[in-house]
Protein backbone atom coordinates (compact mmCIF):
# COMPACT_ATOMS: atom_id res chain seq x y z
CA UNK A 1 0.00 0.00 0.00
CA UNK A 2 2.98 2.28 0.21
CA UNK A 3 2.51 3.07 -3.45
CA UNK A 4 -0.99 4.34 -2.82
CA UNK A 5 0.19 6.51 0.02
CA UNK A 6 3.03 8.06 -1.93
CA UNK A 7 2.98 11.73 -2.76
CA UNK A 8 3.25 10.90 -6.44
CA UNK A 9 0.06 8.85 -6.38
CA UNK A 10 -1.80 11.60 -4.57
CA UNK A 11 -0.60 14.26 -6.97
CA UNK A 12 -1.62 12.04 -9.83
CA UNK A 13 -5.10 11.10 -8.64
CA UNK A 14 -6.11 14.39 -7.07
CA UNK A 15 -6.82 16.14 -10.39
CA UNK A 16 -8.60 13.10 -11.80
CA UNK A 17 -11.21 12.86 -9.05
CA UNK A 18 -11.26 15.58 -6.43
CA UNK A 19 -9.98 18.52 -8.43
CA UNK A 20 -11.03 17.48 -11.89
CA UNK A 21 -10.29 20.35 -14.27
CA UNK A 22 -13.62 20.05 -16.08
CA UNK A 23 -16.23 18.65 -13.76
CA UNK A 24 -14.99 20.39 -10.60
CA UNK A 25 -13.05 23.45 -11.69
CA UNK A 26 -15.04 23.93 -14.93
CA UNK A 27 -12.01 24.83 -17.02
CA UNK A 28 -11.30 23.90 -20.61
CA UNK A 29 -14.96 23.85 -21.54
CA UNK A 30 -14.43 25.23 -25.08
CA UNK A 31 -12.57 22.24 -26.39
CA UNK A 32 -14.88 19.92 -24.47
CA UNK A 33 -17.78 21.54 -26.34
CA UNK A 34 -16.15 21.45 -29.71
CA UNK A 35 -14.56 18.07 -30.28
CA UNK A 36 -16.71 15.70 -28.25
CA UNK A 37 -19.27 14.81 -30.89
CA UNK A 38 -17.23 11.67 -31.57
CA UNK A 39 -15.05 9.46 -29.43
CA UNK A 40 -12.00 9.00 -31.64
CA UNK A 41 -11.11 12.69 -31.97
CA UNK A 42 -11.68 13.04 -28.24
CA UNK A 43 -9.17 10.29 -27.48
CA UNK A 44 -6.61 11.90 -29.78
CA UNK A 45 -7.21 15.27 -28.19
CA UNK A 46 -6.82 13.73 -24.76
CA UNK A 47 -3.48 12.22 -25.77
CA UNK A 48 -2.26 15.47 -27.30
CA UNK A 49 -3.44 17.41 -24.29
CA UNK A 50 -1.84 15.02 -21.80
CA UNK A 51 1.44 15.07 -23.68
CA UNK A 52 1.49 18.84 -23.85
CA UNK A 53 0.51 19.46 -20.25
CA UNK A 54 2.96 16.88 -18.89
CA UNK A 55 5.89 18.16 -20.95
CA UNK A 56 5.10 21.79 -20.26
CA UNK A 57 4.84 21.11 -16.55
CA UNK A 58 8.18 19.32 -16.56
CA UNK A 59 9.99 21.94 -18.66
CA UNK A 60 8.63 24.86 -16.69
CA UNK A 61 9.40 23.11 -13.45
CA UNK A 62 13.00 22.54 -14.55
CA UNK A 63 13.33 26.23 -15.36
CA UNK A 64 11.38 27.46 -12.35
CA UNK A 65 14.37 28.84 -10.53
CA UNK A 66 15.72 30.81 -13.47
CA UNK A 67 12.47 32.31 -14.81
CA UNK A 68 12.20 35.96 -13.73
CA UNK A 69 8.81 36.26 -12.10
CA UNK A 70 7.68 39.36 -14.00
CA UNK A 71 7.96 37.68 -17.41
CA UNK A 72 6.99 34.19 -16.31
CA UNK A 73 3.70 34.20 -18.21
CA UNK A 74 5.50 34.92 -21.47
CA UNK A 75 8.02 32.17 -20.82
CA UNK A 76 5.24 29.74 -20.01
CA UNK A 77 3.41 30.70 -23.18
CA UNK A 78 6.50 30.17 -25.30
CA UNK A 79 7.01 26.72 -23.85
CA UNK A 80 3.38 25.71 -24.23
CA UNK A 81 3.10 27.16 -27.72
CA UNK A 82 6.16 25.27 -28.92
CA UNK A 83 4.78 22.03 -27.54
CA UNK A 84 1.38 22.63 -29.08
CA UNK A 85 2.90 23.30 -32.49
CA UNK A 86 4.90 20.12 -32.12
CA UNK A 87 1.77 18.14 -31.28
CA UNK A 88 -0.11 19.71 -34.15
CA UNK A 89 2.65 18.90 -36.65
CA UNK A 90 2.89 15.32 -35.41
CA UNK A 91 -0.85 14.82 -35.81
CA UNK A 92 -0.75 16.33 -39.29
CA UNK A 93 2.09 14.04 -40.25
CA UNK A 94 0.74 10.77 -38.90
CA UNK A 95 -3.02 11.15 -38.35
CA UNK A 96 -4.07 13.58 -41.01
CA UNK A 97 -7.78 12.73 -41.06
CA UNK A 98 -8.24 13.11 -37.34
CA UNK A 99 -6.14 16.24 -37.39
CA UNK A 100 -8.57 17.65 -39.92
CA UNK A 101 -11.53 16.64 -37.75
CA UNK A 102 -9.98 18.38 -34.76
CA UNK A 103 -9.22 21.40 -36.97
CA UNK A 104 -8.14 24.38 -34.91
CA UNK A 105 -8.67 22.72 -31.59
CA UNK A 106 -5.23 21.18 -31.48
CA UNK A 107 -3.75 24.60 -32.00
CA UNK A 108 -6.15 25.95 -29.44
CA UNK A 109 -4.77 23.65 -26.75
CA UNK A 110 -2.53 26.61 -26.05
CA UNK A 111 -5.46 28.71 -24.94
CA UNK A 112 -6.71 25.92 -22.72
CA UNK A 113 -6.64 27.44 -19.28
CA UNK A 114 -5.86 24.09 -17.67
CA UNK A 115 -2.28 24.03 -19.00
CA UNK A 116 -1.47 27.59 -18.07
CA UNK A 117 -3.20 27.12 -14.74
CA UNK A 118 -1.16 24.06 -13.84
CA UNK A 119 2.06 25.77 -14.92
CA UNK A 120 1.25 28.73 -12.71
CA UNK A 121 -0.21 26.87 -9.79
CA UNK A 122 1.92 23.76 -9.66
CA UNK A 123 4.99 23.61 -11.86
CA UNK A 124 6.44 26.91 -10.70
CA UNK A 125 6.67 25.70 -7.13
CA UNK A 126 7.30 21.97 -7.40
CA UNK A 127 9.97 19.60 -8.60
CA UNK A 128 9.95 18.29 -12.18
CA UNK A 129 9.17 14.79 -10.95
CA UNK A 130 6.04 15.87 -9.10
CA UNK A 131 5.07 18.24 -11.90
CA UNK A 132 5.11 15.34 -14.30
CA UNK A 133 2.61 13.45 -12.16
CA UNK A 134 0.46 16.52 -11.83
CA UNK A 135 0.49 17.05 -15.61
CA UNK A 136 -0.40 13.41 -16.25
CA UNK A 137 -3.19 13.55 -13.72
CA UNK A 138 -4.68 16.71 -15.16
CA UNK A 139 -4.40 15.47 -18.73
CA UNK A 140 -6.15 12.23 -17.84
CA UNK A 141 -8.70 13.98 -15.66
CA UNK A 142 -9.55 16.21 -18.60
CA UNK A 143 -9.48 13.24 -20.95
CA UNK A 144 -11.74 11.07 -18.85
CA UNK A 145 -14.45 13.72 -18.82
CA UNK A 146 -14.30 14.45 -22.54
CA UNK A 147 -14.34 10.75 -23.37
CA UNK A 148 -17.37 10.12 -21.16
CA UNK A 149 -19.07 13.13 -22.71
CA UNK A 150 -18.10 12.03 -26.22
CA UNK A 151 -19.37 8.52 -25.52
CA UNK A 152 -22.84 9.77 -24.67
CA UNK A 153 -22.86 12.41 -27.36
CA UNK A 154 -21.92 9.96 -30.07
CA UNK A 155 -24.24 7.25 -28.77
CA UNK A 156 -27.29 9.47 -28.27
CA UNK A 157 -26.62 12.03 -30.96
CA UNK A 158 -25.51 9.83 -33.84
CA UNK A 159 -26.39 6.35 -32.64
CA UNK A 160 -22.81 5.18 -33.13
CA UNK A 161 -19.62 4.49 -31.18
CA UNK A 162 -16.12 4.91 -32.59
CA UNK A 163 -17.79 5.78 -35.87
CA UNK A 164 -19.61 2.43 -36.07
CA UNK A 165 -23.38 2.42 -35.89
CA UNK A 166 -24.46 0.63 -32.72
CA UNK A 167 -28.15 1.47 -32.53
CA UNK A 168 -29.68 -1.24 -34.72
CA UNK A 169 -31.89 -0.32 -37.64
CA UNK A 170 -35.01 -1.98 -36.27
CA UNK A 171 -35.01 0.40 -33.33
CA UNK A 172 -35.01 3.31 -35.75
CA UNK A 173 -37.82 1.56 -37.60
CA UNK A 174 -39.77 1.45 -34.35
CA UNK A 175 -39.64 5.22 -34.20
CA UNK A 176 -36.46 5.92 -32.29
CA UNK A 177 -34.84 9.22 -33.24
CA UNK A 178 -31.35 10.45 -32.48
CA UNK A 179 -31.19 13.28 -29.99
CA UNK A 180 -30.31 16.38 -31.97
CA UNK A 181 -29.42 18.35 -28.86
CA UNK A 182 -26.47 16.07 -28.21
CA UNK A 183 -24.76 17.34 -31.34
CA UNK A 184 -25.22 20.92 -30.19
CA UNK A 185 -23.29 22.71 -27.48
CA UNK A 186 -26.10 22.67 -24.88
CA UNK A 187 -25.91 18.88 -24.81
CA UNK A 188 -22.38 19.10 -23.44
CA UNK A 189 -23.38 21.47 -20.69
CA UNK A 190 -26.19 19.15 -19.69
CA UNK A 191 -23.90 16.11 -19.74
CA UNK A 192 -21.10 17.79 -17.80
CA UNK A 193 -23.64 19.07 -15.30
CA UNK A 194 -25.10 15.61 -14.81
CA UNK A 195 -21.60 14.15 -14.53
CA UNK A 196 -20.67 16.70 -11.87
CA UNK A 197 -23.90 15.86 -10.05
CA UNK A 198 -23.09 12.14 -10.13
CA UNK A 199 -19.54 12.74 -8.93
CA UNK A 200 -20.70 14.94 -6.09
CA UNK A 201 -23.34 12.43 -5.07
CA UNK A 202 -20.78 9.63 -5.02
CA UNK A 203 -18.29 11.74 -3.08
CA UNK A 204 -20.97 12.73 -0.58
CA UNK A 205 -21.83 9.09 -0.09
CA UNK A 206 -18.18 8.22 0.51
CA UNK A 207 -18.02 11.06 3.00
CA UNK A 208 -15.07 12.59 1.20
CA UNK A 209 -16.64 15.79 0.07
Amino acid sequence: MSFRNSKEWKTFTEPIIHANPISVAVLGICSALAVTTQIIPSIILMLAMTAVITLSNVIISIMRNIIPSNIRIIVELVVIASLVILADQLLKAFLFDISKALSVFVGLIITNCIIMGRAEAFALSNTPWMSMWDGLGNGLGYGYVIIVVAFFRELLGSGSLFGIQVVPDFIYAMGYVNMGIMLLAPGVFILIGLLAWLENALKAKGGKR
Binding site: G175, M179, G180, M182, I190
Partner: protein, 393 residues
Protein backbone atom coordinates in the same frame (compact mmCIF):
# COMPACT_ATOMS: atom_id res chain seq x y z
CA UNK B 1 -64.09 1.00 5.81
CA UNK B 2 -63.85 4.42 4.35
CA UNK B 3 -60.75 6.03 2.98
CA UNK B 4 -60.16 8.45 5.81
CA UNK B 5 -60.35 5.59 8.28
CA UNK B 6 -57.74 3.72 6.30
CA UNK B 7 -55.40 6.68 6.39
CA UNK B 8 -55.95 7.06 10.14
CA UNK B 9 -55.32 3.38 10.79
CA UNK B 10 -52.10 3.42 8.89
CA UNK B 11 -50.79 6.73 10.12
CA UNK B 12 -48.61 5.06 12.72
CA UNK B 13 -47.06 2.72 10.20
CA UNK B 14 -46.14 5.56 7.89
CA UNK B 15 -44.79 7.94 10.49
CA UNK B 16 -41.14 8.78 10.10
CA UNK B 17 -40.08 6.35 12.80
CA UNK B 18 -42.61 3.66 11.87
CA UNK B 19 -41.95 0.47 9.89
CA UNK B 20 -42.82 2.21 6.60
CA UNK B 21 -41.03 5.43 7.46
CA UNK B 22 -39.35 5.49 4.10
CA UNK B 23 -42.72 6.11 2.48
CA UNK B 24 -43.74 8.84 4.89
CA UNK B 25 -43.62 11.61 2.31
CA UNK B 26 -45.57 9.65 -0.28
CA UNK B 27 -48.19 8.78 2.32
CA UNK B 28 -48.47 12.39 3.39
CA UNK B 29 -48.76 13.62 -0.18
CA UNK B 30 -51.58 11.23 -1.00
CA UNK B 31 -53.34 11.99 2.29
CA UNK B 32 -53.32 15.72 1.73
CA UNK B 33 -54.49 15.14 -1.80
CA UNK B 34 -57.76 13.84 -0.42
CA UNK B 35 -58.09 15.55 2.93
CA UNK B 36 -57.20 18.78 4.59
CA UNK B 37 -53.69 18.87 5.90
CA UNK B 38 -53.98 18.15 9.60
CA UNK B 39 -50.46 19.27 10.38
CA UNK B 40 -50.74 22.88 11.44
CA UNK B 41 -48.11 25.42 12.24
CA UNK B 42 -47.25 25.25 15.93
CA UNK B 43 -45.93 28.72 16.50
CA UNK B 44 -47.93 31.93 16.60
CA UNK B 45 -46.99 33.97 13.59
CA UNK B 46 -48.61 32.27 10.65
CA UNK B 47 -52.05 32.79 9.28
CA UNK B 48 -53.81 29.49 9.68
CA UNK B 49 -55.38 28.56 6.43
CA UNK B 50 -56.27 25.36 4.64
CA UNK B 51 -54.85 26.70 1.41
CA UNK B 52 -51.49 25.02 1.08
CA UNK B 53 -49.49 24.69 -2.11
CA UNK B 54 -51.72 21.86 -3.19
CA UNK B 55 -54.95 23.83 -2.99
CA UNK B 56 -53.23 26.77 -4.63
CA UNK B 57 -52.08 24.61 -7.49
CA UNK B 58 -55.48 23.00 -7.88
CA UNK B 59 -56.87 26.43 -8.75
CA UNK B 60 -54.45 26.58 -11.67
CA UNK B 61 -55.59 23.12 -12.74
CA UNK B 62 -59.19 24.32 -12.75
CA UNK B 63 -58.15 27.36 -14.75
CA UNK B 64 -56.52 25.05 -17.26
CA UNK B 65 -59.66 22.97 -17.76
CA UNK B 66 -61.24 25.09 -20.52
CA UNK B 67 -58.00 25.00 -22.50
CA UNK B 68 -57.67 21.27 -21.96
CA UNK B 69 -61.23 20.47 -23.01
CA UNK B 70 -61.04 22.75 -25.98
CA UNK B 71 -57.68 21.21 -26.85
CA UNK B 72 -59.22 17.74 -26.80
CA UNK B 73 -62.10 18.88 -28.97
CA UNK B 74 -59.82 20.69 -31.38
CA UNK B 75 -57.40 17.76 -31.69
CA UNK B 76 -60.29 15.52 -32.66
CA UNK B 77 -61.75 18.16 -34.95
CA UNK B 78 -58.50 18.63 -36.85
CA UNK B 79 -57.79 14.92 -37.01
CA UNK B 80 -61.24 14.07 -38.40
CA UNK B 81 -61.19 16.99 -40.78
CA UNK B 82 -57.81 15.97 -42.16
CA UNK B 83 -59.05 12.57 -43.26
CA UNK B 84 -62.33 13.89 -44.58
CA UNK B 85 -64.59 12.57 -41.82
CA UNK B 86 -67.59 14.56 -40.73
CA UNK B 87 -67.12 16.87 -37.75
CA UNK B 88 -70.82 17.31 -37.01
CA UNK B 89 -70.90 14.36 -34.65
CA UNK B 90 -69.47 16.03 -31.56
CA UNK B 91 -69.29 12.82 -29.61
CA UNK B 92 -67.05 11.21 -32.21
CA UNK B 93 -64.92 14.34 -32.40
CA UNK B 94 -64.37 14.42 -28.65
CA UNK B 95 -63.65 10.70 -28.61
CA UNK B 96 -61.05 11.12 -31.35
CA UNK B 97 -59.52 14.08 -29.54
CA UNK B 98 -59.41 12.25 -26.24
CA UNK B 99 -57.65 9.31 -27.85
CA UNK B 100 -54.96 11.71 -29.04
CA UNK B 101 -54.57 14.00 -26.05
CA UNK B 102 -55.25 11.88 -22.97
CA UNK B 103 -52.29 9.54 -23.56
CA UNK B 104 -50.05 12.62 -23.55
CA UNK B 105 -51.53 13.78 -20.25
CA UNK B 106 -51.19 10.29 -18.79
CA UNK B 107 -47.56 10.01 -19.86
CA UNK B 108 -46.76 13.42 -18.49
CA UNK B 109 -48.31 12.70 -15.10
CA UNK B 110 -47.09 9.13 -14.93
CA UNK B 111 -43.45 9.85 -15.71
CA UNK B 112 -43.31 13.16 -13.87
CA UNK B 113 -45.03 12.00 -10.69
CA UNK B 114 -42.95 8.83 -10.70
CA UNK B 115 -39.80 10.93 -10.65
CA UNK B 116 -41.23 13.31 -8.05
CA UNK B 117 -42.09 10.47 -5.68
CA UNK B 118 -38.72 8.85 -6.31
CA UNK B 119 -36.79 11.98 -5.38
CA UNK B 120 -39.00 12.74 -2.41
CA UNK B 121 -38.51 9.24 -1.04
CA UNK B 122 -34.75 9.25 -1.56
CA UNK B 123 -34.21 12.73 -0.21
CA UNK B 124 -36.91 12.64 2.43
CA UNK B 125 -38.44 15.97 1.42
CA UNK B 126 -42.12 16.60 0.93
CA UNK B 127 -43.69 15.80 -2.42
CA UNK B 128 -43.76 18.93 -4.53
CA UNK B 129 -47.31 19.77 -5.45
CA UNK B 130 -46.04 22.13 -8.10
CA UNK B 131 -45.89 19.18 -10.39
CA UNK B 132 -49.65 18.86 -10.47
CA UNK B 133 -49.62 21.99 -12.61
CA UNK B 134 -46.43 21.37 -14.57
CA UNK B 135 -47.71 17.91 -15.46
CA UNK B 136 -50.83 19.35 -17.04
CA UNK B 137 -49.19 22.40 -18.58
CA UNK B 138 -46.66 20.27 -20.38
CA UNK B 139 -49.00 18.19 -22.59
CA UNK B 140 -50.94 21.34 -23.40
CA UNK B 141 -47.89 22.94 -25.02
CA UNK B 142 -46.98 19.91 -27.10
CA UNK B 143 -48.20 19.15 -30.60
CA UNK B 144 -50.49 16.10 -30.62
CA UNK B 145 -48.24 14.43 -33.15
CA UNK B 146 -45.34 14.00 -30.75
CA UNK B 147 -44.44 10.36 -30.01
CA UNK B 148 -45.25 9.46 -26.42
CA UNK B 149 -41.75 8.29 -25.55
CA UNK B 150 -40.37 11.66 -26.56
CA UNK B 151 -42.96 13.40 -24.42
CA UNK B 152 -42.01 11.16 -21.50
CA UNK B 153 -38.32 11.83 -21.95
CA UNK B 154 -39.00 15.54 -22.10
CA UNK B 155 -40.96 15.68 -18.86
CA UNK B 156 -38.34 13.53 -17.15
CA UNK B 157 -35.71 16.04 -18.19
CA UNK B 158 -37.89 18.96 -17.15
CA UNK B 159 -38.54 17.56 -13.69
CA UNK B 160 -34.99 16.40 -13.00
CA UNK B 161 -32.89 19.14 -14.55
CA UNK B 162 -35.46 21.92 -14.41
CA UNK B 163 -36.48 21.33 -10.82
CA UNK B 164 -35.13 18.51 -8.70
CA UNK B 165 -31.48 19.39 -9.28
CA UNK B 166 -32.12 22.70 -7.59
CA UNK B 167 -34.03 21.20 -4.69
CA UNK B 168 -37.63 20.94 -5.87
CA UNK B 169 -40.61 23.26 -6.12
CA UNK B 170 -39.84 26.75 -4.94
CA UNK B 171 -36.16 26.51 -5.70
CA UNK B 172 -36.27 26.07 -9.44
CA UNK B 173 -35.41 29.17 -11.41
CA UNK B 174 -36.81 27.83 -14.68
CA UNK B 175 -40.35 26.82 -15.44
CA UNK B 176 -40.20 22.98 -15.46
CA UNK B 177 -42.88 22.54 -18.13
CA UNK B 178 -41.12 24.96 -20.45
CA UNK B 179 -37.75 23.39 -19.72
CA UNK B 180 -39.23 20.06 -20.73
CA UNK B 181 -40.68 21.47 -23.93
CA UNK B 182 -37.45 23.30 -24.71
CA UNK B 183 -35.55 20.04 -24.33
CA UNK B 184 -37.90 18.22 -26.68
CA UNK B 185 -37.83 21.14 -29.09
CA UNK B 186 -34.06 21.08 -29.46
CA UNK B 187 -33.63 17.35 -29.10
CA UNK B 188 -36.20 16.24 -31.65
CA UNK B 189 -36.48 19.25 -33.91
CA UNK B 190 -38.15 17.35 -36.71
CA UNK B 191 -41.05 16.37 -34.43
CA UNK B 192 -41.43 19.75 -32.82
CA UNK B 193 -40.82 22.39 -35.44
CA UNK B 194 -42.41 20.54 -38.32
CA UNK B 195 -45.44 21.99 -39.96
CA UNK B 196 -47.69 18.97 -39.68
CA UNK B 197 -49.32 19.17 -36.31
CA UNK B 198 -52.54 17.35 -36.94
CA UNK B 199 -52.94 14.11 -35.08
CA UNK B 200 -53.37 10.99 -37.17
CA UNK B 201 -56.18 8.73 -36.04
CA UNK B 202 -55.34 5.75 -38.17
CA UNK B 203 -52.05 5.16 -39.89
CA UNK B 204 -53.77 3.96 -43.06
CA UNK B 205 -55.84 7.09 -43.52
CA UNK B 206 -54.93 9.42 -46.34
CA UNK B 207 -55.02 13.13 -45.79
CA UNK B 208 -57.62 14.61 -48.09
CA UNK B 209 -56.64 17.00 -50.83
CA UNK B 210 -56.85 20.64 -50.00
CA UNK B 211 -56.58 20.16 -46.27
CA UNK B 212 -53.79 22.28 -44.87
CA UNK B 213 -52.10 20.89 -41.81
CA UNK B 214 -49.80 23.88 -41.44
CA UNK B 215 -50.21 25.93 -38.30
CA UNK B 216 -51.15 29.59 -38.73
CA UNK B 217 -47.66 30.60 -37.66
CA UNK B 218 -46.06 28.36 -40.26
CA UNK B 219 -48.31 29.86 -42.92
CA UNK B 220 -46.98 33.33 -42.19
CA UNK B 221 -43.43 32.43 -41.24
CA UNK B 222 -42.71 30.49 -44.41
CA UNK B 223 -44.59 32.88 -46.71
CA UNK B 224 -42.86 34.19 -49.78
CA UNK B 225 -41.44 37.67 -49.71
CA UNK B 226 -43.86 40.39 -50.66
CA UNK B 227 -46.96 38.47 -49.65
CA UNK B 228 -49.59 39.87 -47.34
CA UNK B 229 -49.69 37.91 -44.11
CA UNK B 230 -53.26 38.77 -43.27
CA UNK B 231 -54.56 37.70 -46.65
CA UNK B 232 -52.56 34.47 -46.54
CA UNK B 233 -54.06 33.58 -43.19
CA UNK B 234 -57.58 34.30 -44.36
CA UNK B 235 -57.02 32.24 -47.50
CA UNK B 236 -55.81 29.33 -45.38
CA UNK B 237 -59.00 29.54 -43.33
CA UNK B 238 -57.42 31.25 -40.35
CA UNK B 239 -59.51 34.38 -40.12
CA UNK B 240 -59.20 36.44 -36.96
CA UNK B 241 -62.41 35.08 -35.48
CA UNK B 242 -61.32 31.53 -36.13
CA UNK B 243 -57.94 32.21 -34.56
CA UNK B 244 -59.66 33.54 -31.45
CA UNK B 245 -62.08 30.65 -31.21
CA UNK B 246 -59.20 28.32 -31.90
CA UNK B 247 -60.30 25.63 -34.34
CA UNK B 248 -56.86 25.70 -35.96
CA UNK B 249 -53.86 23.36 -35.84
CA UNK B 250 -51.36 24.01 -33.10
CA UNK B 251 -50.17 22.73 -29.74
CA UNK B 252 -52.93 21.07 -27.73
CA UNK B 253 -53.99 23.84 -25.38
CA UNK B 254 -52.73 26.95 -27.05
CA UNK B 255 -55.15 27.47 -29.92
CA UNK B 256 -58.24 28.93 -28.30
CA UNK B 257 -57.86 32.44 -26.95
CA UNK B 258 -61.36 32.29 -25.46
CA UNK B 259 -60.70 29.16 -23.43
CA UNK B 260 -57.44 30.63 -22.17
CA UNK B 261 -59.11 33.91 -21.23
CA UNK B 262 -61.62 31.97 -19.12
CA UNK B 263 -58.70 30.48 -17.24
CA UNK B 264 -57.01 33.86 -17.01
CA UNK B 265 -60.16 35.30 -15.44
CA UNK B 266 -60.12 32.67 -12.72
CA UNK B 267 -56.39 33.12 -12.09
CA UNK B 268 -56.73 36.88 -11.75
CA UNK B 269 -59.93 36.64 -9.68
CA UNK B 270 -58.38 34.29 -7.16
CA UNK B 271 -55.07 36.12 -7.19
CA UNK B 272 -53.13 33.01 -8.14
CA UNK B 273 -51.80 34.46 -11.38
CA UNK B 274 -50.41 37.96 -11.47
CA UNK B 275 -52.41 40.37 -13.64
CA UNK B 276 -49.36 42.61 -13.72
CA UNK B 277 -47.33 40.05 -15.62
CA UNK B 278 -50.17 39.33 -18.04
CA UNK B 279 -51.02 42.95 -18.76
CA UNK B 280 -47.45 44.11 -19.14
CA UNK B 281 -46.66 41.19 -21.45
CA UNK B 282 -49.67 42.20 -23.53
CA UNK B 283 -48.44 45.77 -23.66
CA UNK B 284 -44.93 44.66 -24.57
CA UNK B 285 -46.15 42.44 -27.38
CA UNK B 286 -48.50 45.10 -28.75
CA UNK B 287 -45.78 47.73 -28.65
CA UNK B 288 -43.29 45.51 -30.43
CA UNK B 289 -45.97 44.58 -32.97
CA UNK B 290 -46.68 48.24 -33.75
CA UNK B 291 -42.98 49.01 -34.01
CA UNK B 292 -42.51 46.17 -36.47
CA UNK B 293 -45.50 47.42 -38.45
CA UNK B 294 -44.13 50.93 -38.64
CA UNK B 295 -40.43 50.35 -39.14
CA UNK B 296 -40.32 46.81 -40.47
CA UNK B 297 -39.62 45.63 -43.97
CA UNK B 298 -42.92 46.01 -45.81
CA UNK B 299 -42.30 42.92 -47.93
CA UNK B 300 -42.18 40.49 -45.03
CA UNK B 301 -45.47 38.78 -44.20
CA UNK B 302 -44.53 38.44 -40.52
CA UNK B 303 -43.42 42.05 -40.06
CA UNK B 304 -46.49 43.48 -41.72
CA UNK B 305 -49.01 41.52 -39.69
CA UNK B 306 -51.08 43.72 -37.35
CA UNK B 307 -50.26 43.14 -33.67
CA UNK B 308 -53.77 41.94 -32.83
CA UNK B 309 -53.31 39.01 -35.17
CA UNK B 310 -50.07 38.18 -33.44
CA UNK B 311 -51.91 38.02 -30.14
CA UNK B 312 -54.54 35.67 -31.52
CA UNK B 313 -52.30 33.13 -33.19
CA UNK B 314 -49.68 30.78 -31.85
CA UNK B 315 -49.12 30.33 -28.17
CA UNK B 316 -49.02 33.96 -27.03
CA UNK B 317 -52.13 33.80 -24.85
CA UNK B 318 -51.30 30.47 -23.27
CA UNK B 319 -47.70 31.38 -22.60
CA UNK B 320 -48.50 34.71 -21.02
CA UNK B 321 -51.41 33.50 -18.90
CA UNK B 322 -50.07 30.18 -17.66
CA UNK B 323 -46.33 30.16 -18.21
CA UNK B 324 -45.14 33.68 -17.48
CA UNK B 325 -47.18 33.87 -14.26
CA UNK B 326 -45.59 30.80 -12.70
CA UNK B 327 -45.14 32.00 -9.10
CA UNK B 328 -41.79 30.31 -8.64
CA UNK B 329 -39.86 31.32 -11.71
CA UNK B 330 -41.28 34.82 -12.11
CA UNK B 331 -40.08 37.73 -9.96
CA UNK B 332 -41.60 38.45 -6.55
CA UNK B 333 -42.01 42.20 -6.35
CA UNK B 334 -44.85 43.91 -8.18
CA UNK B 335 -42.67 46.38 -10.07
CA UNK B 336 -40.39 43.57 -11.14
CA UNK B 337 -43.42 41.66 -12.44
CA UNK B 338 -44.31 44.59 -14.66
CA UNK B 339 -40.80 44.80 -16.08
CA UNK B 340 -40.56 41.04 -16.45
CA UNK B 341 -43.87 40.76 -18.29
CA UNK B 342 -43.05 43.67 -20.57
CA UNK B 343 -39.71 42.18 -21.53
CA UNK B 344 -41.35 38.81 -22.19
CA UNK B 345 -43.79 40.52 -24.54
CA UNK B 346 -41.04 42.34 -26.43
CA UNK B 347 -38.64 39.42 -26.54
CA UNK B 348 -41.21 36.84 -27.61
CA UNK B 349 -42.35 39.08 -30.41
CA UNK B 350 -38.79 39.70 -31.59
CA UNK B 351 -38.02 35.98 -31.67
CA UNK B 352 -41.27 35.16 -33.44
CA UNK B 353 -40.96 37.84 -36.07
CA UNK B 354 -37.25 38.28 -36.63
CA UNK B 355 -35.91 34.76 -36.29
CA UNK B 356 -36.83 32.55 -39.22
CA UNK B 357 -35.51 29.43 -37.48
CA UNK B 358 -38.07 29.55 -34.67
CA UNK B 359 -41.59 30.38 -35.77
CA UNK B 360 -42.64 30.72 -32.16
CA UNK B 361 -40.82 32.76 -29.55
CA UNK B 362 -42.68 32.65 -26.26
CA UNK B 363 -41.04 29.55 -24.88
CA UNK B 364 -37.56 30.98 -25.39
CA UNK B 365 -38.59 34.45 -24.26
CA UNK B 366 -40.06 33.19 -20.99
CA UNK B 367 -37.14 30.92 -20.25
CA UNK B 368 -34.75 33.78 -20.90
CA UNK B 369 -36.66 36.11 -18.62
CA UNK B 370 -36.91 33.36 -15.97
CA UNK B 371 -33.15 33.54 -15.79
CA UNK B 372 -33.28 37.30 -15.40
CA UNK B 373 -36.12 37.32 -12.85
CA UNK B 374 -33.90 37.29 -9.74
CA UNK B 375 -31.80 40.09 -11.21
CA UNK B 376 -34.86 42.26 -11.88
CA UNK B 377 -36.09 41.59 -8.35
CA UNK B 378 -32.72 42.54 -6.97
CA UNK B 379 -32.55 45.79 -8.94
CA UNK B 380 -36.08 46.79 -8.00
CA UNK B 381 -35.48 46.09 -4.33
CA UNK B 382 -32.16 47.87 -4.18
CA UNK B 383 -33.69 50.87 -5.97
CA UNK B 384 -36.53 50.98 -3.47
CA UNK B 385 -34.32 50.63 -0.44
CA UNK B 386 -32.10 53.41 -1.77
CA UNK B 387 -35.17 55.66 -1.86
CA UNK B 388 -35.99 55.08 1.78
CA UNK B 389 -35.54 57.82 4.28
CA UNK B 390 -32.98 56.49 6.72
CA UNK B 391 -34.23 55.86 10.25
CA UNK B 392 -31.11 57.33 11.74
CA UNK B 393 -29.52 60.42 10.39
Amino acid sequence: MNLEQWFKDNEEKFSKSGPNGKWHESYHAIYTFFYNNHIKTNTKVHIRDGVDTKRYMVLVIIALMPALFFGIFNAGYQARLSVGLSVDDYFAVILAGASLVLPLVAVSYGVGLGIEFFFATIRGHAINEGFLVSGLLYPLILPVTIPLWQAGLGIAFGVIVGKEVFGGTGRNFLNPALTARCFVFFTYPSQMSGEIWTGVLNAKDQIVDGFSTATPLAVVAYAEKGSDGMKLLEDAGFGISNLIIGLVPGSVGETSVIAILLGAGLLIFTGVGSWRTMVSALVGALLMGFLFNIYGDKDSAMLGLPPLWHLAMGSFAFAVVFMATDPVSSPTTNTAKLIYGFLIGCMGMIIRVMNPAYPEGWMLAILLMNVFAPLIDYLVMSYKTSKRIPNLV
